[in-house]
């Protein structure tokens, strides 16, 4: 029996979409106003979904206090009120699109969460990131027998 628990978090960050592999003109064409060299920002909403068996008698999949602490330490403190291109190590060599940010956040969270929940076989199921209220991105690693929606 697997239950999926999702918690939402918020952080605000700036970024500029620009690839050194493209010419200045190509960067403007591909990224449009997101290529503005002065950067711009978003209020990101992060959804973290963990999957596991429900521990009884606590009735919980995972300790929410521990989840909050791990997300705060690994993600929020790293990215909140930062320039993703200039203030973080994660985007020295890759463009801080929300797609890449999703995958980075998954990589940051998976080891500590799955170690903390190891005795219950806890898995980080997915990371979903809303860049604005109109667009969102979701990273779900390929796993056999994964759920559809």
């Amino acid at each position: 029996m697997t239950v999926y628990l999702t918690r939402r978090y918020r952080f605000c960050a700036g970024h500029r979409l620009h690839s050194d592999a493209l010419s200045a003109e190509e960067n403007r064409r591909v990224y449009g106003k997101c290529n503005n060299p002065h950067a711009h920002g978003h209020n990101y909403v992060l959804e973290v979904t963990v999957a596991g068996a429900v521990d009884q008698p606590s009735g919980m999949v995972f300790d929410l206090v521990a989840l909050d602490r791990i997300v705060a330490e690994r993600v929020i403190e790293r990215f909140d009120h930062k320039n993703l291109n200039l203030d973080t190590e994660n985007f020295r060599t890759q463009v801080p699109t929300t797609e890449n940010l999703c995958i980075e956040i998954y990589k940051l969270l998976q080891p500590p969460l799955e170690i903390a929940g190891a005795e219950r076989g806890l898995q980080l199921d997915r990371v979903r990131l809303e860049e604005t209220s109109l667009n969102s991105f979701e990273y779900v690693p390929d796993r056999a027998g994964h759920r559809v929606i």
Partner: protein, 135 residues
């Protein structure tokens, strides 16, 4: 396969407590949720049914049936109740959102006339929700 989802809301109170734990352990593990007088939430339930589209009606199922089922099986049982004390399923089991999702699945799944229950999602707050797929 098409998935149709119906939402319903209920408000209830609960607290978390395990009689096998000492008072100290209960406070440490469950934090402010251990307050024995209870606290409450506005819960939102999403029931998702999977099925094929009926050629004659163009529908997977009559969503009114799902609405009535949610009302009879879930809302009438849990709305404006103290879950620990007034819902038998939680007499000896903590009414965590995880356990509530599994309980709602168990209440609804056998009663569906058409389609199969695919997912129960329960929001405890807009920032915290649980999904259960029946296995």
């Amino acid at each position: 396969m098409i998935y149709v989802t119906r939402r319903a809301e209920f408000s209830a109170s609960h607290y978390y407590h395990n009689p096998q734990f000492s008072p100290d352990e209960n406070r440490r593990i469950f934090g402010k949720c251990n307050n024995p007088l209870g606290h409450g939430h506005n819960y939102t339930v999403e029931a998702t049914v999977a099925g094929e589209i009926d050629g004659a009606t163009g529908m997977v199922m009559d969503l009114k049936e799902l609405k009535v089922l949610l009302e009879q099986e879930v809302i009438q049982v849990m709305d404006h109740k103290f879950l620990n004390k007034e819902v038998p399923a939680f007499a000896e089991k903590n009414p965590t959102t995880e356990n509530i999702a599994v309980e709602i699945w168990n209440l609804l799944a056998p009663k569906l006339a058409r389609g199969t229950l695919h997912r129960i999602r329960v929001y405890e707050t807009p920032d915290l929700f649980v999904d259960y797929y029946g296995k």
